[in-house]
């Protein structure tokens, strides 16, 4: 009897501890994920001599690896998602991704010596971690950037970037809502197409 109890306790410790361990290190893993992503972005995307096409392709790859683009895109479209047709949704997702790639390619091309440091990581909700970081500039104060990192079945994906308390996805959602409210979903797609055309010409 006693031996059974001891065995049970032993089994409990054996099985329970890896779980407890996983939960505890989750925050650290999310922090490491963000630090690794930041380091990779700075080493592979910022070189001046990089051709624009190559840089854009690398940004796209990094985006796919590290960001939950479908979730972000859907959130940004807001409640109109429910009324959009399947064709509109897929066009929107392509245009949305192209817009992000264009925006960030330009940003990394203008890189001027910033460095990147993860400060802390705190759990937020059941699946998310909020990883706080600082972008240190050569000239001027540090910029505070929080990354909302979601654990999606073992792989981490960024679902929001919060710069100085301003959520980029929330701002973009409100921005797009301005267009959808006045011009509808087709109007939004047209504006995004025009943007993409302008970028391509440059």
């Amino acid at each position: 009897m006693r031996i059974h109890l001891i065995l049970a306790a032993f089994a409990f410790v054996l099985f329970a501890s890896p779980l407890a361990f996983a939960a505890k290190t989750d925050g650290t893993e999310a922090a490491q994920f963000v630090q690794k992503m930041g380091d990779k972005a700075l080493t592979s995307l910022t070189a001046r001599e990089l051709a624009d096409g190559v840089r854009a392709q690398r940004v796209r790859t990094l985006l796919h690896e590290n960001f939950d683009v479908p979730t972000i895109g859907r959130f940004v479209m807001g409640p109109s998602w429910k009324t959009a047709t399947a064709a509109q949704k897929s066009q929107y997702m392509d245009l949305f991704e192209d817009m992000i790639v264009a925006t960030y390619s330009k940003r990394f091309a203008e890189y001027s010596g910033q460095s990147f440091k993860v400060i802390s990581s705190t759990p937020s909700g059941e699946t998310d971690n909020l990883v706080k970081s600082q972008i240190l500039q050569k000239d001027g104060p540090a910029v505070l950037v929080d990354w909302r990192v979601r654990n999606k079945g073992g792989t981490f994906k960024v679902v929001d970037v919060v710069v100085e308390s301003i959520s980029m996805t929330m701002t973009q959602r409100d921005d797009f809502a301005g267009v959808i409210n006045s011009k509808g979903i087709e109007g939004l797609l047209n504006v995004l197409r025009q943007r993409a055309g302008k970028v391509a010409k440059k």
Partner: protein, 256 residues
């Protein structure tokens, strides 16, 4: 002259009371996620706001932004930081007062310690010695105090020159101005030019720090007005909550 000033400050007081009453009346936030998307701040006078916003934008592009860029280019960052530190230190009485009104005794203590340390060891406020000691700057104003007391935004309001605000925050700004001991000092010694210069420098310092952010938002937003309104509303909410961690927007899990 002094009668005219008296009268104008009376008008300001009356206007302020009107703001407070109206603000309380329109506390309720109109956010209904299902029936057509609305942003976090209600904007019933959007056409008017868009008009003022367009005017501000022109003023910014032709005058304010170029001046801010020249300011950034001429002065090295330690000089600009000195200016910011000095302007922040001048706001200390207003910050301490608002922390007390928000019953944030710890915040009031920090702000008081900051003022004493930075005014003395920080050479009249030019150096932020206190921050290095773990006493971080925390901006407070009467708009935030009203929010802590439970008042809603009222509605979004774009002020000429001053830019994005809300009914509540505009009232708060007027109240802070009226109560500011430095304004009273300037007024009583007939040195109001000094007070207006300070407002101008504060504005320049703020705008100069936002050069990159504004360029980004202008270039990357589809509806610049809506993007600025969203950013303003989020920033204010964060200031009201004193920037507690982990409060940013929850992104739903769509199961994809």
């Amino acid at each position: 002259m002094s009668r005219a000033v008296n009268l104008s400050s009376k008008i300001m007081t009356i206007a302020l009371c009107a703001f407070l009453v109206l603000g309380t009346a329109s506390c309720a936030r109109s956010v209904s996620p299902e029936a057509g998307y609305k942003t976090g701040i209600s904007d019933p006078i959007e056409p008017f706001n868009r008009g003022v916003f367009a005017f501000n934008n022109i003023l910014d592009v032709v005058l304010i932004e170029p001046v801010a860029k020249i300011y950034n280019a001429i002065f090295p960052s330690f000089v600009r930081d000195g200016v910011q530190n000095f302007m922040r230190n001048l706001r200390s009485p207003i910050i301490i007062g608002n922390q007390l009104l928000q019953f944030d005794l710890k915040g009031a203590g920090v702000a008081t310690a900051r003022m004493i340390i930075n005014t003395t060891a920080g050479i009249g406020g030019l150096v932020d010695v206190a921050s290095a000691q773990g006493l971080a700057y925390e901006p407070e104003d009467f708009g935030q105090t009203l929010a802590v007391w439970g008042m809603g935004d009222g509605f979004y309001l774009v002020l000429p020159v001053f830019g994005p605000s809300s009914l509540r925050d505009t009232g708060g700004m007027v109240a802070d101005g009226l109560a500011d001991p430095l304004r009273l000092l300037a007024h009583n010694t007939d040195n109001m030019w000094w007070y207006y210069t300070r407002l101008g420098v504060e504005g320049l310092d703020t705008r100069a720090r936002l050069v990159k952010a504004v360029e980004d938002l202008r270039a990357n937003s589809l509806d610049y007005y809506a993007a600025v309104r969203s950013a303003y509303s989020q920033k204010r909410q964060s200031l009201i909550r004193d920037e507690k961690a982990g409060d940013s927007a929850a992104i739903p899990d769509y199961g994809n």
